[in-house]
């Protein structure tokens, strides 16, 4: 059983990648198995858990619900591309570590990507807005307490940093 592949160009974490993908393959599958980016996790493969959340042109999507061909010519950001540069983590990553917001870690990439999208859109969210923003991301370990706290602390830090002279 062979399936014809379609050439696509997807800019993944800033780097244009030319890939041949079967039309039936999901973006999640192609990220993990073709692009070698296994940070994005498969928790359900049907859009229920949010573990595979990535940014598609800066909009968070369940990458298991997007066909890879739909991402042709578009930008995808995964957990591996969240840090501003190789030597520096995103403040969300720092705070998730420092505040215990990651336990088994399987939901963590999706939640950090979702939180980044939330803070990019709404730099000063209320607790309610944070919780609503995570409504599609299942975490079974933490009770969400420390995840919400890490996002709140990040928002405050980023606001304070933005106010500082460069």
């Amino acid at each position: 059983m062979t399936t014809a592949t379609v050439p696509v160009t997807i800019t993944i974490n800033g780097e244009p990648r030319e890939l041949g993908v079967a039309p039936s393959r999901t973006l999640l599958d192609v990220l993990r198995n073709e692009a070698g980016l296994t940070g994005t996790k498969k928790g359900c493969d049907v859009g229920d858990c949010g573990a595979c959340t990535v940014l598609l042109d800066d909009v968070p999507v369940n990458s298991c619900l997007v066909l890879a061909v739909e991402a042709n010519g578009r930008r995808v950001t995964t957990i591996e591309g969240i840090a501003p540069d190789p030597d520096r983590l995103h403040p969300l990553q720092e705070n998730f570590m420092a505040l215990g917001a990651s336990q088994c870690g399987f939901c963590t990439p999706g939640i950090i990507v979702m939180a980044k999208a939330l803070l990019d859109r709404n730099p000063n969210p209320t607790e309610e807005e944070i919780r609503f923003g995570l409504a599609g991301n299942i975490c079974r370990c933490t009770g969400y307490t420390k995840i919400v706290e890490a996002i709140q602390v990040t928002a405050r830090q980023m606001a304070a940093d933005a106010g500082k002279p460069a």
Partner: protein
Amino acid sequence: MTSVIGKSVKRTDTLGKVTGGAVYAGDVVLPGMLHGKTKRATVAHARIESIDVGKALALPGVKAILTHADVPRVLHYGSPHPRSASVTQDQYILDTKVRYYGEGVAAVAATSEEIAELACELIEVAYEPLPAVLTVEDALKPGAPSIHDVGPGGNLVLDPFVITRGDPEKGFAEADLIVEGEYGMGRPTPAYMEPNVCVCQWDPLGKLTIWTSTQSPFMVRGTLAEVLGLPLNKVRVLVDHMGGGFGAKQDLFQHEFLCALLAQRTRRPVRMEFTRKETFLGGRTRHPGTVWIRQGFRRDGTITAREARVVFNSGAYGSHGPGVTAVGTAALTSLYRCENVRLEGRCVYTNTPIAGAFRGYGVVQTYYALDILMDEAAETLGMDPAALKLLNAVREGDIAPSNHPITGHGLEDCIRRGIEETGWAARGSRPPAKQTGRLRRGWGMGCEMHGSSAYPGIKEQGNAVVRMNEDGSVTLMTGTTGLGTGAHTALAQITAEELGVKFEDVAVVHGDTDVVPWDIGAFASHTTFMAGRACQMAAAQVKAKVLARAADRLEVSAADLDIRDSVITVKGVPGMSMTVRDAIAAEKGIPAPQLLGEGSYHPTKSYSFAAHFVEVEVDTETGQVSVLQVVPVHEIGKIIHPIAAAGQIEGGIQQGIGHTLSEDFVVDQRDGRPLNASFVDYKMPLAMDMPPIRTIILETAPSDGGPFGAKGVGEDPIIAIGPAIANAIYDAIGVRFRHYPITPEQILAALADKDEAQAA
């Protein structure tokens, strides 16, 4: 140097998790790797008449198919705890009989997952249907179809587990009040985020390497070796990070055997990953069941006698049924002190999904019943429920479920602190049933205790090897698994503290059964407690070797030396010191002997305690229960890593809220087909549902056995939250529920019944 114990140092495992670099078993890709899939039964109980694999084998890309005719027929333990009576030998890799809907009947390896799936559809299985036994009641009926040939018969997994202490008849005769009730439990599942997955590869010398998501790598090694007929040094189990397990991933699953055999057959690496649906179907659930309890009380509230009958539904196989039944039943000897008890626990096969180990291990169910019954008794006695529980709380010297004496007054401390923190005495209107209005609020509390380690049920042992390298840095080798709790960080803290080096100087090696010391697995709240003590013992040996060498060089007695921050100082001689690095440096070009320490710790028994205080709001129009706040008070001896400990508590509460209000994996009562095997239909509490949690951790009853007095915390937080919520619902609306989950439909029906009764 300040102590690193009690500090929330940066965990060793989380950098990979926040950057995406952490490697889970499902991330492993090997050259030439094939993809395996399990063909699953679509009946709950049947004999397999025939399996036709012809069409499937003809599919291009299919490399191998296994049925029961192709695999070793060795009866094995699903949950392979050595040196333990808590498991039942009742499983084959593939059998000629199907015992639950979704059981594996064949397996395929193919060049892609899609082809393997398609091949599974093309496998034709002819079944001779047998009557499905879907409830405990049906399974226990005389003449019920027998699900297994092994075991005591009558669909029992084990002979009834019976405990008698004191004289229950006398105790009940002395009672002024006798309260009894039967409590029913649904079927929550662990629902860990990472579906089960493994990758298998054989080397040319006939050695199997398996990357798998397991809590118990050495149990995987032992059982694979036994069933496949290999020596232990021909099976290597690798697990770096894993995406949760909560107890269930102690079992060996069918796909782990099948993957190994497919890889052997095809001479290529094979990967098998569950879909989410398979994780429900072929996973492990908590034991559903019923708990009947009767307690006698004196007028002052003192308990005089307790009698209980526990019946757990094991599903299609024994798995942890014997252990869960023993631990859950024995738990009723304690929590609230009582000299006269008679308890009976039974565990019953049915043609439903397999129940296994799950955080709280039988105690979730039995303490749910006990703690609601205590509230019912308090009402009849005219007492405050917290006061009644405090009066009867287990204390120093009482005999624990394990038959060991309790140390300290942890439970009393938790109850008292919670009463203070919540302003319990002034918590609002009473009697509760007088509330009117659509939204009604109530408070409830529940208690629990749980052993650190599964000893003496399992003859456990924690091991560690600590090595100091030539530069003074330290390598800790542990066989424990990184389940996500932060335990490896705690082990590094303990090692650093004992040895006198900085936390950052300790690197943890784990996850390779060829390299690390044997470990029974990460479960039973015992990793920090038991493996932690072994680390402490191993570190102490290394420290002694370093000090002996330093003593020679400084020409002082080793007894006068200590290490702090990797610097050796001499007691009473300020200014005289030597770095660890200098002490272990080569002498005249000759390197120091190996600085190795090894610790093996056989645990004593210690119990951790908790009291959970909860406020709920019931919407009397929708039946919806919102948990408004939780104040969990835990006593765990000594906190090693405060943030990790609190994280365990918050996560356990999340699962406990789910158990109590929404989670129930249901099978169709006509044919045993699971009805809600997805995250949409199996409803867990998410970010929007979770209340603020104000965690309080006490260190008032340290353990003699645990490192620096530490005890376990993993199991505890899921236990007390359930009865606390049920009791709070009663406080809000005056309706007593004796089961979980308590659903909105049931609340509305109960309120309607109550209105009708009042009108009549």
